[in-house]
């Protein structure tokens, strides 16, 4: 039978199997224990724990969904519901450099689409895809709150402000 939902983490062949199980290394586990002390309920620790997991593994795989659910006594469906609601949790692997171009109104006026289109063309990517070498992913994102220094490109966690196509090329050359 054809796979109607290739991205569905709950597709039978992707259902978390024990051989792929994940676990926080000790430093992340310590961080997780600290997070738990900061909230009155276990469930409230879900967002920070997912951030921690994404720092660890780069994306929220089905195995991570099960693992985090187990840590916080939540069903995998609850965890996945939260993962899919929020933009920043990657539901598939992203490149080493996640290039997020804001194209909202103020950035658009300062020619953000030029940068976005240039990146897609230069890296030969459809937005959301990753280059075959696993280095770059390009995404169009909504307002990053940096309108006064538009256009802004967020690379992983860092903002690069007042960008243009030439500066983007220079930056790309530094992102090895």
């Amino acid at each position: 039978m054809a796979d109607l939902h290739p991205d569905n983490p709950y597709a039978p062949d992707r259902f978390a199997d024990r051989s792929k199980a994940v676990e926080f290394p000790s430093d992340a586990k310590a961080r997780f224990d600290w997070i738990l002390t900061r909230y009155p309920t276990k469930e409230a620790a879900l967002l920070p724990t997912l951030h921690l997991a994404q720092e660890q593994w780069g994306w929220i795989s089905p195995e991570v969904v099960h693992y985090v659910g187990g840590l916080l006594d939540l069903s995998p469906a609850t965890v996945f519901g939260v993962v899919s609601f929020y933009n920043m949790y990657n539901q598939k692997p992203v490149g080493k450099y996640h290039l997020q171009v804001c194209t909202n109104l103020s950035c658009m006026i300062w020619r953000a689409y030029d940068i976005y289109e240039h990146l897609c063309e230069k890296l030969d990517l459809t937005p959301g895809q990753t280059t075959p070498d696993g280095k770059y992913t390009v995404t169009e994102v909504e307002c990053l709150g940096s309108c006064g220094t538009a256009p802004v490109v967020q690379v992983n966690n860092d903002y690069h402000e007042s960008m243009d196509v030439r500066k983007m090329d220079d930056l790309l050359a530094r992102l090895k």
């Binding site: 929020y86 909202n104 103020s106 006026i109 990517l125 459809t126 006064g148 966690n157």
Partner: protein, 436 residues
């Protein structure tokens, strides 16, 4: 009117984020003073100052605090709304990245006034990673000095703050969406009533205040309500951060007494319009605020005056559009934003925002229909006031105002199947789209 430096007094100092620099400039004196006062006295001073919430709605802060019931069965919470996601707004980020202790001090005072339990959260949008690290470091410094933690400032009040990072959802800037998100849920707004002041986060009474609002509090406690009212006009008091972006020569954050003239701000302080082109429209309060035409901008930027002009001050995110901007394209971009950010809970907003986006897009592509402008107004009428939170109402702000004020340009798109010759489109229509 000249710019002032009240909320931004520290941001240009060397090491402005360090606690020593902040204390040297008189920092944390207001918190010490407040802890010697009675909570009711603090609330009264804030009421007297006529401080209104800087997040968008302009609700009087002192009143908000006084709604918290005294003998609630569950603990009271203070949440700081740092989920600054309204397109065109970037003021809170400046405070958090450059002067985090101002926010922390404001939170200590606010928490004491409302009788908060010993923990509170700064809910910051996930993208502000740098600001979150600055805040975390500042919190550590404050803990080390005994300004946070058990018995702060050597007294009997226990108080600590945790930075809670969002993960990319505009709707979490909505009060109850934020509360849901802090609890670890999808950020879908709640039905009101009960209002958060009665039942909010973790079932307890909750006060949610914007970063800039809280940053105003130390000054009020230190210098008094009269000092605060010295800025601006009655009912619209205090220093205010204005974010100007879009087609101006010098975009950025500007601080003025509440009520700087919009025209003066754009032409005198921001250097005028990019390329000395003509002004076409101004969005005065973030993406959700209805547009103003060039002949409507000679007005003071305060809550009441902008409301009277048919728009809203909102978060004071001023987006300037010059004559080269295609209005349909600009509104399409905002509609796309709201369609993306609708949480999906209420049908009118979830479906309506997507429809508006597609209609605007088809007009841009030359496939518009004669009745499309009216169709947009009709749809807006079916979204506005028909959803749980204000996102639907926000989404129709730019659509209704632009159709009413630029109807000719909309019709030109239908009859000529292109944009006005003097305008440009900023994107390629054959540009790659993300695979969903």
């Amino acid at each position: 009117m000249d710019p002032i430096k009240v909320l931004t007094a520290n941001i240009d100092k060397l090491n402005s984020t360090s606690i020593d620099v902040y204390v040297e400039g008189g920092g944390y004196e207001a918190a010490r003073k407040a802890l010697q006062m009675k909570p009711e006295e603090i609330i009264q001073v804030v009421k007297d100052s006529e401080l209104r919430g800087r997040g968008g709605a302009g609700f009087p802060t002192g009143s908000k605090w006084s709604f918290v019931p005294k003998n609630a069965p569950k603990p009271t919470w203070l949440l700081c709304n740092a989920d600054e996601s309204e397109p065109g707004t970037f003021k809170d980020r400046v405070i958090m990245e450059k002067d985090p202790h101002l926010l922390i001090e404001g939170m200590i005072i606010s928490a004491f006034a409302i009788g908060s339990n010993p923990m509170s959260y700064i809910y910051i949008r996930g993208e502000f990673y740098y600001a979150a690290t600055v805040l975390d470091k500042a919190l550590d410094e404050a803990r080390a000095k005994g300004f946070l933690g058990k018995g702060i400032f050597g007294g009997s009040f226990d108080f600590d703050i945790t930075v809670a990072r969002g993960a990319g959802a505009y709707i979490c800037g909505e009060e109850t969406g934020l509360i849901e998100s802090v609890e670890g849920h999808r950020g879908q707004p709640r039905v009101k009533p009960p209002f958060p002041a009665v039942i909010g986060v973790f079932g307890g009474p909750t006060v949610v205040n914007n970063v800039e609002t809280i940053a105003c509090v130390p000054g009020i406690i230190k210098n008094g309500a009269e000092w605060f009212k010295g800025f601006g006009t009655p009912k619209n008091t205090g220093p205010k951060l204005y974010c100007v972006s879009g087609a101006v020569k010098k975009p950025g954050v500007y601080e003025f007494p509440m009520g700087v003239n919009l025209k003066e701000l754009i032409y005198d302080h921001c250097g005028g319009i990019l390329g000395d082109r003509k002004l076409k429209a101004v969005i005065p309060g973030g993406a959700s605020a209805p547009m103003l035409l060039p002949d409507e901008i000679d007005l003071p930027l305060n809550f009441d005056a902008v409301m009277k002009a048919g728009s809203m001050l909102g978060s004071a995110g001023i987006i300037v559009l010059d004559e080269s901007v295609c209005i349909v394209d600009a509104v399409w971009r905002l509609a796309k934003f709201f369609a993306h950010e609708s949480c999906g809970q209420c049908t009118p907003c979830r479906e309506g925002t997507n429809w508006m986006e597609s209609i605007l897009d088809r007009m841009e592509r030359g496939n518009g229909r004669q009745q499309d402008a009216d169709l947009l107004l009709d749809m807006a009428d079916n979204i506005g006031g028909k959803s749980l939170c204000a996102l639907g109402d926000a989404a129709i702000g730019p659509v209704i105002s632009s159709v009413k004020k630029f109807r000719d340009e909309y019709l030109y798109h239908v009859t000529h199947k292109s944009c006005l010759p003097e305008t440009r489109r900023y994107r390629r229509l054959d540009a790659p789209v993300a695979a969903h």
